[in-house]
């Protein structure tokens, strides 16, 4: 008589990778919708391009590595990586930016490290950092919010712009990015940073039209969209609630401390929560089960560290947003965090 002994982890929720990935992709829809509404068809074009190149790269590299292509491509992980890259890339960036990002994410960050489950870094964020430091000019080409544009851009024109750098009528990215008063628009985070360096206070800076009436015209709704999707993921237990809670909570604490010390040069917590990629990072990127810490205590620490880094880089760093840098740095810290937050084995005294 043989006993069947199940080995750990003793998982009770039997969510296989493909269905989990599909669910995460669905949950991104509210945020993507908001991004499309405010920033136009460029977002959709970029997401489609990114997914296309990510899947092609996945097939190619799996073929090179002699792996079973069909079973690995249908787990949708490459599609999710592509989706995240497409969301992060500026809507007016040229197509080759997205292509390089997707191929790097899948080829180098994922497959070279051994494929799904073995990658040390979050592929989408590593690709984003690669693009940001290599092509700073293209990576700032966010289209101003639709309502600040002179003309609306049609889907076809947007596609043409991404593929050739010009719209069908021959307008360049530069011209499109000019707002009504003829000034090239930067993102809210970027504008605030520039203004603070110039000695303006936060309130003076907020008079700029990119901020709209609330936090950052358009950006706040994109973040709220991703927040909604994220809450859905938590409700369905697809992601661990600890990570976003710890991340957003820590960001609240750090921004509150800074605000108390110097209210004129520190933006409010709401600004930090609802601008840049905060919500996308909190719910869709930091929660990546492969590159995040594994224990509960470790995850609290991991997300808090990410929040601290995001705050410090946004405030003092050379680049306006910081989610990607913070995620990569925290990914690097994961083995160490796991080492010290390892649960005690029965009969042993704590961690040696």
């Amino acid at each position: 008589m043989t006993f069947w002994i199940a080995s750990s982890p003793h998982n009770h929720i039997k969510a296989a990778t493909p269905s989990l990935m599909r669910f995460v992709i669905m949950a991104a829809i509210p945020g993507v919708f908001a991004q499309w509404y405010f920033f136009g068809w460029g977002t959709i074009v970029q997401i489609a391009l990114a997914i296309l190149f990510a899947v092609l790269a996945e097939i190619t590299f799996l073929a090179i590595r002699d792996k079973n292509i069909k079973s690995q491509i249908t787990d949708f992980s490459a599609v999710l990586t592509g989706l995240l890259i497409g969301i992060s890339v500026p809507s007016l960036a040229p197509w080759w930016i997205t292509a390089i990002g997707s191929i790097f994410a899948i080829g180098v960050v994922k497959q070279l490290y051994g494929g799904l489950g073995f990658n040390l870094f979050n592929p989408a964020m590593a690709a984003y950092v690669l693009l940001l430091i290599s092509f700073p000019l293209q990576m700032t080409s966010w289209q101003p919010v639709n309502s600040l544009l002179v003309d609306d851009i049609s889907f076809f024109n947007n596609l043409w712009l991404v593929l050739t750098g010009y719209t069908w009528e021959g307008f360049s990215v530069e011209q499109i990015r000019m707002s009504v008063d003829g000034i090239t628009m930067a993102t809210p985070l970027d504008t605030l940073k520039t203004d603070l360096t110039l000695g303006l206070t936060v309130n003076e800076s907020f008079a700029n039209p990119v901020f709209g009436e609330f936090i950052g015209l358009g950006w706040e709704w994109v973040n709220i969209g991703f927040l909604l999707g994220g809450l859905l993921l938590i409700a369905k237990k697809a992601i661990d609630w600890v990570i976003p809670a710890s991340f957003l909570g820590s960001l609240l604490i750090f921004s509150f401390i800074a605000y108390t010390i110097s209210p004129d040069s520190s933006a409010s917590t709401m600004f930090h929560w609802l601008s840049g990629g905060t919500m996308l990072g909190a719910f869709f990127i930091l929660t990546d089960p492969v590159s995040a810490a594994t224990t509960k205590k470790g995850r609290v620490l991991y997300a808090a560290l990410a929040a601290l880094l995001v705050y410090l880089i946004r405030k003092f760093g050379g680049y306006p947003d910081a989610i990607a840098f913070a995620v990569l740095l925290c990914n690097m810290a994961v083995p160490l965090i796991d080492q010290y937050c390892r649960p005690r084995t029965y009969g042993h005294k704590g961690v040696n």
Binding site: P136, L137, E174, T194, T197
Partner: protein, 213 residues
Amino acid sequence: MKVAVQNNAKVLALFAIACTALVSVVNWLTKDTIIRQQQQQLLSTLYDVIPAERLNNDLYHDCQVIAGNDYLGGDDEQMAYIARMDNMPVAVAITSAAPDGYNGKIKLIVALNVDGSVSGVRVLKHQETPGLGDKIETRKNDWIYGFNGKTVEAENDLRWAVKKDGGMFDQFTGATITPRAVVKAVKNTALYFNKNKDSILSAQTSTCRDNND
């Protein structure tokens, strides 16, 4: 035991002497060439901002030390090299700094004609973002030549700003802080020169390099 220690000490001392001797010989052999190279390097920058045909004095040795001040970007000591034609001053090249670059100080050399107009500007050292802010280098972009011939009229001269702020100088796509800092620094240097023109030009003896070579 004692003998061994003494022996080791002797060997070490011998090697130290031999190595020092070798280094001193090479130093003695290369000393003059190194000084000449440094002079040439500085002179080629100076001739970049003040064309060589406009002067006939020994530019390298005709210079003044200027105590650091807010016009020249902070507390660091700066230099002024005076170009003369037949003993009449034609232009002055002043080293300066832009304290508010995107990533720390930007060190500049600004040459001003005696009438106050800019003869030329070069960046000596900077740490701006590659690909965005580094267009202030002549290797990357012609932007810095835009200062040539411009004059600062007054402290509140509105034209001395980037176009985004309503001035006459281009900014770079994706980087406004760097050109803004450089424009401000050049303007301040020109203002400093206008205010202290007499004291800089009238000084007869040079106050730099009198004892190092």
